[in-house]
């Protein structure tokens, strides 16, 4: 089966900050932006072994700056927008997962996610947005 692993920065993420400022300027109601890259891996059921393998690949995971999360499903969670490249390239993330939160710190609604994709985060000529 396919296992999705999200890898994000534990050092400050300048891109997420820029996205937050830009989305607010565009009138999209978000107060928090977190960005992860999602990688898909073939998984024989041994999740721990998979995580060890991924953590050993420095080209995608450096413990000094990255954190890693094994996702229960290979699909966006509430408050998450996945921007997936229409052409999958080897060794590149399968999606960029944007996690948006509202003023109360709660996951953004799907309307907000769609607006964020439509106005800024997704170029439909090369990307597909999934919420």
């Amino acid at each position: 089966m396919t296992r999705a692993i999200a890898i994000g920065l534990k050092i400050p993420d300048n891109t997420a900050y820029t996205a937050l400022v830009a989305l607010r300027r565009l009138g999209v109601a978000v107060e928090g932006v977190e960005r992860n890259e999602v990688f898909f891996f073939d998984d024989d059921g041994d999740v721990a072994a998979l995580v060890r393998r991924v953590k050993a690949d420095e080209t995608i995971f450096n413990p000094n700056k990255h954190r890693l999360e094994v996702l229960a499903q290979a699909a966006p969670r509430p408050g998450e927008l996945w921007v997936e490249p229409l052409e999958r390239a080897p060794n590149r993330a399968a999606a960029v997962a944007w996690r948006l939160t509202d003023a109360r710190g709660l996951p953004a609604s799907s309307q907000v996610l769609e607006a964020a994709a439509d106005r800024l985060l997704c170029n439909p000529a090369i990307d597909r947005a999934r919420v």
């Binding site: 400050p12 300048n14 900050y17 400022v21 690949d57 080209t59 450096n62 413990p63 000094n64 700056k65």
Partner: protein
């Protein structure tokens, strides 16, 4: 509250000395401040007294070592005296752990050193030493790839061309890569801004500009003085420095605007980069340098997160920050430039220019936090030079006696030399760097032995830059490697027709507390001094990086790395390396000492040979012959002999012609064409009149796109294929 990491690198005797001087136990902030300020990185405590042997003056020197960067006179245009600002640094330890961020922040730091002299930043260069990156999935390969991407991501974004650099791959760098960075700036000599306040700066305001201070990089100054291993990598994660080239690009332009305003109002100011030691180190040095003290209020620092301990705010090494000391009258305008015109707060979270304190008449360094004094020490005690007289042992190299080399088969060796990791084309690497932004590039990186810019709009004045430092030599003899690094950097600048005007160095060595490793450093300094004296060139800037030591206690190969700047009166006269015409005479000018020790050839043959001897007399003669040939208009092309020897230099001249659409070949006869002892390969239209006591006629150029060496024929196209490919395995 976020507190400092407990590990203080200060030794017990140093802590005692501080307590004695203060007459009390130092506060947490004071301890952190002395820890940073007295670290090897800031104090040069075990190297400074040796570095005094380097020549630092000369007719070209506008500003020697001592401030954030050195300055060299370039030339006069339109009645104005122009100078180049140069700084040279290393960012080795962080790059081994987080290579992308480490290398990027290395570029970011060196750019600030040049910027703060009041200069426009016009170029960067990066000498790199990586481990055995040919092994896929090795840490060495990851470092080699990510560091290059980091350098590119930063330099490309801020719009500074990458003009020169080199790269070597060697097992000695598996656990300690070397990321050296050089930056060049352009300034009118009348507009130089100093790194310290003048004598009459009492009451000036201290303005911090740039990124909001956060906890990143806390302890970075000491970080570079600790040995790295996997555990440390995790433990040191607070020391990851986060680059922000976007903010830097805006900061640079806002600073240029501020320079213009200062010149318009004819006001003096001081401007300095925040590096190791953060706000504390920068403000203490900036004010003590002018015989003043400082009073800083840490509550006025723009921070990225609440609840940071005062010592973190004071000495943390958040990137992308600079500090001004300004006459009060101009402060509102400067704040407006950074905060409103260049909108810093919109560019990065809570980035801004803010007044955080003032210059005081007494020589005390005082920090306040939350209404209380948290540090109060004598400025001179904090910033004054401390010195560690460490013992060292003489480096004695028992070189094997010279052997009669068995006749070498050029047919066997040439393809192997050209494909060697230290000889093959660097293009796959440097293609990732912008070489031409700013539109001033005359010879981009890779086009010749040195990069050349025409940095002053409307002027034909040019500046050339090259770097050198051969780790194969460093392994055998640190002193010789240092001399050779100077000569080779000079040769590369001369090869494009420039007049060398000054040098910088970065000394990358092992543990100074190990007498044998420290001895290598001491002898390398001797070598630099000897070569610079012999060639009458000054060192105007430099850096020392020690503790480049692996977990097993071994040091990197001795790596004195040198950069040379050259001046060119008219860039129209530069010499390019591509062969120009069939029927030219080929000369080898300069030293032809035939020893092969430390060469690529010696490695391929597995022989242990002595290093070739150096002759400064021969070197000066060679430079004279070359300049004379250029002045008489008979010099058509030229390359300095370097890794891979004379034949490699010649083959590359043929490649340069070949890729420019001029298929020109060469036919030469020479016993061992792979000696790397030096000199230049030159194409001249006519050898008549050339002083042949210092030059040897080795052959002619031909119309066929092939190379004939001692009767053996090679297709240039095939050789090019062999030479151009290997690094694309690492840099696809």
């Amino acid at each position: 509250m976020l507190h400092s990491a407990p590990s203080v690198a200060l030794r017990e005797d140093e802590v005692e000395r501080i307590a004695q001087r203060l007459g009390r136990e130092p506060s947490a902030v004071e301890l952190a401040a002395f820890d940073a300020q007295w670290s090897e990185h800031c104090s040069y405590k075990s190297s400074r007294h040796h570095l005094k042997r380097l020549p630092v003056s000369g007719s070209s020197v506008v500003l020697g070592p001592g401030e954030d960067a050195g300055i060299l006179h370039l030339g006069i245009h339109d009645g104005e005296r122009y100078a180049v600002v140069i700084a040279h640094e290393s960012h080795n330890h962080p790059s081994q752990v987080v290579p992308f961020e480490g290398a990027a922040t290395g570029v970011g730091g060196i750019v600030r050193d040049v910027l703060c002299m009041g200069a426009q930043v016009i170029a960067v260069a990066d000498p790199l030493r990586f481990g055995r990156a040919d092994a896929a999935e090795s840490h060495a390969r990851y470092v080699a790839q990510a560091a290059v991407d980091g350098i590119g991501a930063y330099g490309n974004a801020i719009g500074v061309p990458n003009l020169a650099g080199d790269v070597y791959f060697d097992a000695g760098f598996d656990e300690n890569c070397l990321i050296n960075v050089v930056a060049l700036g352009l300034v009118k000599e009348s507009n130089v801004i100093h790194s310290h306040v003048p004598k009459d700066a009492d009451g000036w305001e201290i303005v911090l500009v740039g990124k909001a201070t956060d906890a990143s990089g806390f302890g970075g100054a000491s970080f570079s003085s600790l040995t790295l291993d996997a555990e440390d990598a995790e433990a040191n994660k607070g020391a990851v420095q986060v680059p922000d080239p976007f903010l830097k690009s805006v900061l640079m332009r806002a600073s240029y605007r501020t320079f213009a305003l200062l010149h318009e109002r004819k006001l003096e100011a001081a401007f300095k980069d925040l590096g190791a030691g953060g706000i504390m180190g920068c403000s203490a040095e900036m004010t003590a340098g002018g015989g003043h003290g400082a009073a800083i209020d840490l509550d006025r620092v723009n921070v990225a997160l609440e609840g940071m301990a005062p010592e973190v705010i004071a000495v943390g090494e958040t990137q992308e920050r600079l500090m001004w000391a300004l006459p009060p009258a101009i402060v509102p305008d400067v704040l407006r430039i950074y905060n409103e015109e260049f909108t810093l707060p919109e560019v990065a979270y809570n980035a801004r220019a803010s007044v955080i304190g003032r210059v005081t008449a007494d020589k005390r360094y005082v920090l306040r936090y939350d209404g209380a004094v948290v540090m109060d020490v004598e400025s001179d005690f904090l910033t004054g030079s401390i010195r560690d007289e460490l013992p060292y042992t003489e480096v004695i190299r028992h070189a094997a006696p010279a052997n009669e080399l068995a006749a070498v088969s050029v047919e066997y060796l040439l393809p192997r030399v050209l494909a060697h990791r230290d000889v093959c084309s660097r293009e796959p690497l440097y293609r990732r760097y912008d070489a031409v932004v700013r539109g001033c590039t005359v010879l981009p990186r890779g086009a010749a032995d040195a990069g050349v810019l025409a940095p002053i709009p409307g002027s034909p004045l040019g500046v050339a830059l090259a770097v050198a430092g051969n780790p194969r030599y460093g392994r055998i003899d640190p002193r010789y490697a240092a001399e050779h690094a100077v000569i080779e950097a000079v040769r590369r600048v001369v090869a494009v027709g420039a007049q060398p005007i000054g040098l910088t160095d970065c000394l990358n060595f092992g543990n100074p507390r190990k007498p044998d490793q420290y001895g290598e450093f001491v002898r390398a300094v001797d070598g630099l001094a000897c070569a610079a004296d012999a060639l009458t060139l000054p060192f105007v800037s430099g850096n020392v990086s020690l503790y480049n030591e692996s977990a097993d206690g071994s040091a990197v190969p001795a790596s004195p790395i040198v950069a040379c700047v050259g001046a060119i009166e008219d860039v129209g006269q530069v010499i390019t390396p591509g062969l120009k015409h069939a029927g030219s005479t080929l000369l080898w000018i300069g030293s032809r000492e035939l020893a092969v020790g430390g060469s690529v050839l010696a490695e391929l043959l597995g022989v242990d040979e002595p290093l070739p001897a150096l002759s400064y007399g021969a070197e000066r003669t060679a430079i004279g012959i070359l300049r004379d040939a250029a002045a008489r208009g008979i010099l058509r092309s030229c390359r300095a002999v370097s890794d891979g020897g004379m034949l490699t230099a010649l083959v590359r001249m043929a490649f340069d012609a070949f890729t420019a659409g001029r298929p020109i070949g060469a036919e030469i006869d020479f016993g061992n064409p792979f000696c790397e002892s030096g000199g230049f390969v030159c194409e001249v239209s006519d050898a008549a009149g050339v002083d042949l006591t210092g030059a040897l006629q080795i052959g002619v150029t031909t119309e066929a796109p092939e190379l004939v060496v001692n009767g053996t024929h090679f297709s240039l196209a095939q050789l090019y294929e062999i030479w151009s490919k290997p690094l694309s395995e690492i840099y696809p």
